[in-house]
Amino acid sequence: MDLSFVILVEMLYAVASLILIGAGLAVVFGMMKVINLAHGEFMMMGGYATITAVGLGVNVFVAMLIIAPLIVGLIGLVVERLVIRHLYGRLVDTMLATWGLSLFFIGLTTMIFGNTTTGISTPIPGFAVGGYQINGYNFFIIVVAVLLLIGILAVLKTTRAGLIARGAMQRADMAATLGYSPDRIYMATFFCGSALSGLAVAVLAPLVGLVPTSGGAYIAKAFITVIAGGPSLVAGLLSSAGVFGVVSQVFTFAISPVIGEVALLIAAVILLRLLPQGITGRFFKGKL
């Protein structure tokens, strides 16, 4: 009984962290069709922003939930203006340019922070369930992931800005005719996507150590989650994170963490082969 509760929490945590990792990329790729391979490094920089802010004496929650997203959002804004703006509609070129950016940021962070692991301690204490110790922070991550999904859904569905953004993504020319500048909408969307990436790893930072290359660990997972999710933003993210989180945790508990990771990747390959348009390309069509 206790064990199954622990496993359940671990699974929810795995799903939640996949949602967090994928959210920023889902906004940028799902809406703008820009493949941001520097996504992992955006996340990594969010983590460093948090750690630096905490080191300067800022409250850890303020650092995670406000400072990190803002800083990464601003970095994203600069990147969009300087590089990505010129490459809209050229899928492969964006992919390569952002890969270059990712290497650039890795190099930059290594120069500033050095090639050592840094981290902060978890702000929420753990507690015991029967004979097992559960990390209380896991619940925080699950809550943040749920709130994040609800937030994205609410913004896109109910606000005017969300409506305009969705319209511009579908038909940029039509939005331009109606008097909205697609250029500025893209810019704002990219800012939001980057900010979400910053938030994600800032929240995860207390659980994982950070090195300048840790972005690479996220990018593949984020990429897989978003692509396997398919065209719908929230439904796709939720369904693919659900599938992959459960698969990886089942194999982690049954065999070993490494096999869990490998199982996740193999599941992704099989899923993409069977449903090349992503899960929401076949099911939940037309949902957000």
Binding site: H86, L87, L103, F104, F105, G107, G216, I224, L265, P276
Partner: protein, 345 residues
């Protein structure tokens, strides 16, 4: 693609001979060897990406697979001829299976990129986790993160005691690269190569003309993997150790950067890009002021933004503009088609 194969052959032999004579005077052969090997690796992706339009994010997987196959087989057999052949065959077969899975599923660029990337990651993670004594193939321990050291290096076929190393090994690698280059040239001149370029330009049209696009892409993909596998085996011989880092994403990224910088759709571009950038990286590695990765990243971004076709095509068109004697009409035509490209691209 003008000129005949025999002209290609003569030009390649002359250029190779000159380079073989001059280059060792400028750079040590130990460094040159790895530049040549990287050149071959660059050529392998240049073939499938530049001429087949298949963007593979996991070319490093085949490179690493070739190196590991060689190392494992060399430990078990103790002679290098069969392992070299295996190191070409195993990646080719692996790529044929993977390619068949992808191309018969009609997956296109982004999904292709993700799957090749994921497969590379799987191999990387798996190889890193094989540290225990239970991971053994024959006599070879996989060694996990530390890799496999101490295998039989290249020897004269049939004589395991006669190692080929040092300067001689450089000449072997350089000649191997020249031969692969000629084979690739021949392949691209054949109807198979021309149809591959046709598929890159317009897949639907080629399949409507009756060509089996899926089978052809699979074969091309496997050919590229075979070349990468050969490069991997040569690299294993050069480094005398194979580690999981051969499969890393960084390695894959570098191959793509070489192709972009050198120039896609050319045979020489990826080779020059690979050797040139690897040498730049080697020089940068000797200073500690600026991080290596930072500069490589910057190079890639700048090239995508300002010179997306790469150095070699840019030089070729510069040459044509300065020295070529083309009728006026063709220049106009070229300019018009370039404008059209800009409008639609």
């Amino acid at each position: 693609m003008q000129g005949s194969l025999s002209r290609d052959l003569i030009a390649t032999v002359i250029v190779t001979a000159i380079l073989l004579w001059i280059m060792p005077l400028l750079i040590g052969t130990y460094t040159l060897t790895v530049l040549v090997i990287y050149g071959m690796l660059g050529l392998s992706l240049g073939l499938i990406w530049g001429f087949g339009g298949i963007l593979c994010f996991g070319q490093a997987a085949f490179f690493g697979l070739g190196a590991y196959t060689y190392a494992i087989a060399a430990i078990n057999i103790g002679e290098s001829t069969v392992p070299m052949i295996l190191a070409v065959l195993v990646p080719a077969i692996f790529a044929a299976l993977l390619g068949a899975m992808m191309f018969y599923g009609r997956l296109t660029d982004v999904y292709l990129g993700v799957i090749t990337l994921v497969v590379t990651l799987i191999l990387f993670k798996f190889m890193n986790s094989t540290a225990g004594p239970q991971y053994v193939i024959g006599n070879a321990r996989m060694g996990g993160f530390n890799g496999i050291p101490g295998f039989q290096t290249l020897n004269i076929p049939g004589n395991p005691g006669a190692y080929i190393w040092g300067d001689a090994y450089f000449y072997v690698c350089a000649v191997a690269l020249a031969i692969v280059f000629l084979l690739v040239s021949a392949l691209l001149r054949s109807s198979f190569g021309r149809i591959a370029v046709g598929i890159r330009e317009n897949e639907t049209r080629m399949s409507l003309m009756g060509y089996d696009v899926r089978a052809r892409k699979t074969v091309l993909f496997a050919t590229g993997a075979a070349i990468a596998g050969l490069a991997g085996a040569l690299f294993a011989n050069w480094g005398e150790i194979v580690t999981p880092n051969l499969f890393s994403l960084g390695q894959s990224a570098e191959i793509i950067i070489w192709c972009i910088v050198g120039g896609l759709g050319t045979r020489l571009g990826p080779i020059l890009g690979a050797a040139g950038l690897a040498y730049v990286k080697f020089l940068l590695g000797q200073q500690h002021l600026i991080d290596n990765t930072l500069i490589l990243g910057l190079i890639l971004v700048l090239f995508v933004l300002f010179l997306p076709r790469g150095i070699v095509p840019a030089l070729v068109s510069l040459w044509r503009i300065s020295f070529g004697r083309r009728p006026l009409g063709r220049i106009h035509q070229a300019r018009r088609s370039r404008n059209r490209e800009r409008l639609h691209g």
